[in-house]
């Protein structure tokens, strides 16, 4: 076991921020990792990760390539299990419930994911957004739900007349927003985004970042990004990963302006990574 002290930011220590209306908001630890270790075969990719992700906030995970931030993200919805020979030790808790004890398909309905490169299905735009609904046995009016999701993803106006065209007819940025709409359709409580803008131009990136701001009231957002400026722009809280360990985790302001660890400061100032 590693000796690096994990920075535990429990709800008691967080300064309570205010919502837009000025009333103080109490943060619940929506997703928690407790002493999480992850192994690819014999290789240990994550060492003793412990952190709490607050509800209705945007949490960013940053760090150099290969530091384990994506690996960590993928344990949160257990999509890491699709790779053979992986092992998890420790716990991930959603609303204080161990995710390993929950049916995995139910978990993934509550914790959605958007991937690094957009991966729309070879189906129409409509069918892409409707997929999650259909697969989970949605009984209501499909087209209303699809429209609602596309609006939440700020894509509705651009695609409303071509819902039955192939998803591949959209631009890269639109496809990624389609993937976000697809993930939102099942009304997840948490949305995980794995470097969602890394393949996109600055304008498309800005659109998605604006989108995240509008979503966080209804959703808890965790975003992995290799772009520090993006983390500084969007995140309320930021965690810095290095070589499979969580070095520092705090409000974004503290991480970027006043980090306590040397490694964090080195990374922020660009001395490596």
């Amino acid at each position: 076991m590693t000796n690096d002290e994990p920075m535990i930011m429990s709800t008691a220590n967080l300064p309570s921020a205010s919502s837009a209306s000025g009333k103080p908001v109490v943060h619940q630890g929506k997703l928690k990792a407790v002493d999480l270790n992850f192994f690819y075969g014999a290789y240990q990719a994550l060492h003793g990760i412990t952190l709490e992700i607050p509800a209705n906030r945007i949490t960013a995970l940053i760090g150099p390539s290969g530091c384990g931030k994506s690996t960590f993200l993928r344990t949160l919805n257990r999509i890491s299990e699709t790779i053979r020979n992986t092992r998890v030790e420790g716990q991930v808790l959603l609303d204080d419930e161990d995710v390993m004890q929950v049916d995995v398909t139910a978990l993934r309905r509550r914790v959605g994911m958007v991937f690094q490169k957009s991966n729309p299905f070879p189906k129409s735009i409509f069918d892409n957004v409707a997929y999650g609904l259909r697969v989970n046995g949605f009984r209501g009016a499909l087209s209303d739900a699809v429209e609602h999701s596309l609006k939440r993803a700020a894509l509705w106006d651009e695609v409303k007349d071509k819902l039955h065209k192939s998803a591949y007819a959209l631009s890269g940025g639109q496809q990624q927003r389609l993937c976000i709409a697809r993930a939102l359709a099942v009304d997840p409580e948490v949305l995980l985004l794995d470097e969602p803008c890394s393949a996109l131009d600055p304008i498309a990136t800005a659109k998605i970042e604006d989108l995240l701001f509008t979503l966080k009231d209804q959703c808890t957002i965790v975003i992995v990004t290799h772009n520090m400026q993006q983390a500084a722009r969007v995140a309320d809280r930021t965690g810095f990963f290095l070589m499979g360990k969580l070095i520092e985790y705090n409000t974004t302001e503290i991480i970027f302006k006043n980090p306590t660890k040397q490694e964090t400061e080195d990374y922020i100032t660009g001395r490596f990574g």
Partner: protein, 325 residues
């Protein structure tokens, strides 16, 4: 906090865990597809078993002399495989002798010289050739190739090379040489398409290195590019050989059906596949049938070995190719 170790490998837990997974539908799907996949195993094992079991009579009666005896007489109950093994080997060998230079030459053209569009178009046509049924090749061979060989090619060869016993002997049109020619035509598409792919995988740096040293276009192709692709080319040759050995219909229709060994290529002969095709339906008596099955077993083993060799060579090329890049 308890440590839970979750593994993505199938749980080694008890029946209860398995039953729980069964209800998920995923395990059911896995089992169903597994059953279908095992049908392939069952079929292969069954095939080998049948070949072995249904050839027990001649194996016990003749032992290894089955392979060395050249007497095949259903009437007297004597069965030796040598004429057929001879015929199979001779026709296939000569077929390769004709097809390999032609095929590798065409492959070189298509990979090195031809503009991409012509290369794709020609390759498309050549791959269509591979789809032509054997019986059609046979049909054409009987009515067009046989007269051609009988009236023009074989007399010419006899006139010029008749000193050698291989080109001596009476000319019928039907025989080893004609069979070899049609086999060459049938195996040509395989040699071309696989060799072409092997040649396309050769990095351009190889060719450029030779050219930079002052080699001519041909020299760089023949001395730098082709040797680099030799594993894949050999693989294609072995694959073609395996197909030639097992080719039935076209050969049956032109080989002349004579179960004896002749030195002359113009003479009629027989191959393993051809004798099975001709005699199986009306075989007289169990020993006859089972001897034909034993011939099938011999053919089976022969083609398995050569196919395995071919695949090893082709895998070696792709592995080396990807290791290089």
């Amino acid at each position: 906090m308890a440590t839970t170790a979750a593994s993505s490998a199938p749980p080694s837990g008890g029946a209860q865990v398995w039953l729980k997974r069964l209800r998920s539908g995923d395990e059911v799907a896995r089992l169903i597809t597994l059953v279908f996949a095992s049908i392939i195993l069952v079929l292969t094992v069954g095939l080998v078993y049948q070949l072995w079991a249904t050839s027990s009579m001649p194996r016990h009666k003749f032992g290894f002399t089955f392979l060395t005896s050249s007497l095949w007489n259903p009437v007297t109950g004597q069965f030796g495989a040598l004429p057929f093994i001879y015929g199979t080997v001779v026709t296939s060998a000569i077929a390769l002798l004709i097809a390999v230079p032609l095929g590798v030459g065409a492959a070189i053209f298509l990979s090195e010289l031809a503009p991409p569009r012509i290369s794709s178009l020609f390759t498309f046509f050549i791959e269509l050739l591979a789809a032509v049924p054997s019986v059609i090749y046979g049909l054409l061979a009987i009515f067009t190739l046989v007269p051609l060989m009988r009236d023009y090619v074989e007399p010419f060869l006899k006139k010029t090379l008749g000193v050698v016993p291989v080109f001596g002997g009476a000319i019928y049109g039907f025989g080893y040489l004609t069979a070899a020619v049609i086999l060459a035509v049938m195996t040509l598409p395989f040699i071309i398409s696989i060799s072409r792919e092997a040649l396309l995988e050769v990095p351009t740096e190889q060719r450029e290195a030779a050219l930079a040293l002052g080699a001519t276009r041909w020299e760089s192709t023949w001395q730098a590019v082709v040797p680099y692709a030799r594993l894949g080319i050999f693989g294609s040759i072995f694959l073609a050989l395996a197909r030639a050995l097992g080719e039935t219909m076209a050969v049956t229709m032109v080989i002349g059906n004579d179960p004896s060994i002749h030195a002359s290529l113009f003479a009629p002969g027989y191959t393993i596949a051809a004798v099975i095709a001709n005699e199986f339906a009306e075989a007289s008596g169990d020993l006859h049938v089972q001897s034909l099955v034993e011939l099938g077993l011999v053919l089976f083993l022969l083609t398995i070995m050569i196919n395995a060799l071919a695949r090893l060579l082709i895998i070696a090329t792709t592995r080396r190719g990807s290791a290089q890049s």
